[in-house]
């Protein structure tokens, strides 16, 4: 019955409904089996409260879309500008996603509902904050029952956050390795002994690791015991307080003070900003991606009406940028962790559930500022391949060429053999001209670097 819908490849697990695309718009199909839960969600005041608190991605009922006999309703969620995953998030982004999930569960509990799953895939960073997107995750709460998604929550959120906080590990790398979350037993073995002195970690990780390793039938021993809603609420509040108190150990990366300490000169920075601002004012764009955004200094030059993905491989920079943007309430910039030499792969069933970073969207405009030497000399990627990648991802490109005579490139070549005979300004222009038409070019004062503005060839 439901074959006629163009189902999203990641939406097949939940019998309550699925996500589909029609004429470029995303809709959510709600089947009749979920009718009672959906009505309770919308009529008990829960939905209004969640919308008021900006925790849930808003949606409207799409009555104009044709239903089939199994369908109760079709809703149209607000469009998500760029799908993002936990393996591209920094510590603070994962923390916000965890707190959003817990707040939603707590609010649902007050309306006799509960979340039936608690994976990071239910949350997206949209408009500078974590928003819950899975409208079908709400189920009825029966007094005495446990939170069925408790273990999943700990594995997807609490455990990576604790490992980041206690061991300084990066959450995006952990969740790329464990996309379904890190089991308590592994977390327990990796956490230092001092973590056992903390009641929250002792209970939610170390004790859980011990209990979950018991035999399967042992889990039914205490089934007769009663877990009241007040006790469940206490567990949720305890998780919130534990996650809110976590600190990401301070550690400055070589890139975190780049513009304050490492940059060539203030004259160079000012002139570069001047040139880019002028070029931006002369062009039209709705979306942009800043490859190697660092602290987002250049992403911020874009128009406030445009949507910008500020990507960088340094998780500390992305973490700081996310917090700064949140404090300034700047919602049009989405900071994400992206290592261009190792972009997020396509994952999940049949490699179709989660798309690669680069294939998710084609941007009107791309920035590649002070980046080319890191790819070409730092990673041995030929100029031709760099040009080809950008041509696949953006229509217009503002790119900075950093010559070998530049002190930064000289530093890079200091301890290695110079095998980069093709790394010249002429060769750069030749290779990029195969994919782009260079229509503007300016030398940045205070440096030997050149800025180019180019359009993709038709």
């Amino acid at each position: 019955m439901t074959q006629a819908f163009n189902r999203n490849p990641a939406s097949f697990r939940d019998p309550a409904g699925f996500v589909f695309e029609k004429d470029g718009t995303i809709y959510r199909y709600i089947s009749k089996s979920y009718k009672k839960q959906y009505l309770h969600l919308t009529e008990s005041g829960l939905l209004n409260l969640l919308n008021k608190r900006q925790l849930l991605l808003p949606f409207t009922v799409a009555s104009h879309i044709e239903h089939d006999s199994d369908c109760y309703a079709i809703i149209q969620p607000r469009p998500i500008p760029f799908l993002n995953y936990a393996w591209e998030w920094s510590f603070e982004q994962l923390r916000d996603a965890a707190l959003t999930t817990l707040q939603i569960c707590l609010t649902a509990l007050e309306h006799q509902m509960i979340l039936k799953d608690a994976t990071h895939l239910n949350v997206q960073i949209i408009d500078g904050r974590a928003q819950f997107i899975d409208t079908l995750s709400f189920d009825f709460y029966k007094e005495g029952n446990e939170w069925i998604a408790y273990r999943q929550f700990c594995e997807c959120f609490l455990n990576p956050l604790l490992l980041a906080s206690y061991c300084g590990l990066e959450v995006h790398k952990m969740l790329r390795a464990w996309p379904e979350g890190i089991p308590a037993a592994i977390t327990s073995s990796l956490l230092p002994f001092r973590s056992k002195l903390k009641l929250s970690v002792l209970l939610h990780v170390h004790l859980q690791a011990k209990v979950s390793s018991r035999k399967a039938n042992a889990t039914n021993e205490n089934k007769k015991k009663h877990l009241s809603s007040a006790q469940l609420k206490n567990i949720l509040l305890h998780l919130i307080s534990c996650i809110e108190k976590l600190k990401y150990p301070e550690q400055t990366s070589i890139w975190s003070n780049y513009y304050k300490e490492t940059i060539l000169s203030q004259d160079y920075l000012l002139n570069k900003k001047e040139i880019i601002s002028k070029w931006l004012s002369e062009t039209n764009y709705k979306s942009a991606i800043d490859y190697g955004a660092n602290n987002g200094e250049f992403s911020a030059l874009c128009s406030k009406e445009s949507f910008i993905v500020a990507a960088d491989f340094d998780s500390r920079c992305i973490d700081e940028l996310y917090v700064n943007l949140k404090n300034k309430s700047e919602r049009n910039i989405l900071p994400l962790i992206l290592d261009l030499s190792q972009p997020s792969p396509s994952t999940g069933w049949n490699n179709e559930e989660h798309k690669t970073f680069l294939s998710r969207k084609k941007f009107d405009l791309g920035f590649a500022l002070a980046l080319i030497h890191h790819l070409s000399i730092g990673k041995n990627i030929p100029l031709k391949m760099i040009a080809s990648l950008f041509a696949d991802s953006v229509n217009q490109l503002i790119i900075e060429f950093v010559p070998k005579s530049d002190p930064k490139v000289a530093d890079m070549l200091h301890h290695r053999e110079d095998i980069f005979n093709d790394y010249t300004k002429e060769e750069f222009e030749n290779e990029f001209s195969n994919y782009f038409v260079i229509f503007k070019k300016e030398i940045i004062s205070g440096s030997e670097r050149t800025l180019y503005f180019m359009n993709k060839r038709a």
Binding site: R151, L203, V211, A216, T219, N222, N234
Partner: protein
């Protein structure tokens, strides 16, 4: 360890939640008691300081 791979992902968390709820209940009981004791001393101290202020006037 192999056995747990065959349990539903949500399974096995009932027992741990019951234990955590019980421990949190006890912890809360002691915390409330401790806060009560603390408030008693804080009150005493503030009263003392008030007295000191009064005598100073």
């Amino acid at each position: 360890m192999i056995q747990i791979l065959y349990i539903d992902p949500g399974g096995g968390s009932y027992l741990i939640q019951v234990i955590i709820a019980a421990i949190l209940g006890v912890a809360f009981y002691f915390k409330t008691g401790w806060n009560w004791v603390k408030s008693f001393f804080v009150k005493k101290q503030s009263e003392k300081s008030e007295e000191a202020n009064d005598s100073g006037v």
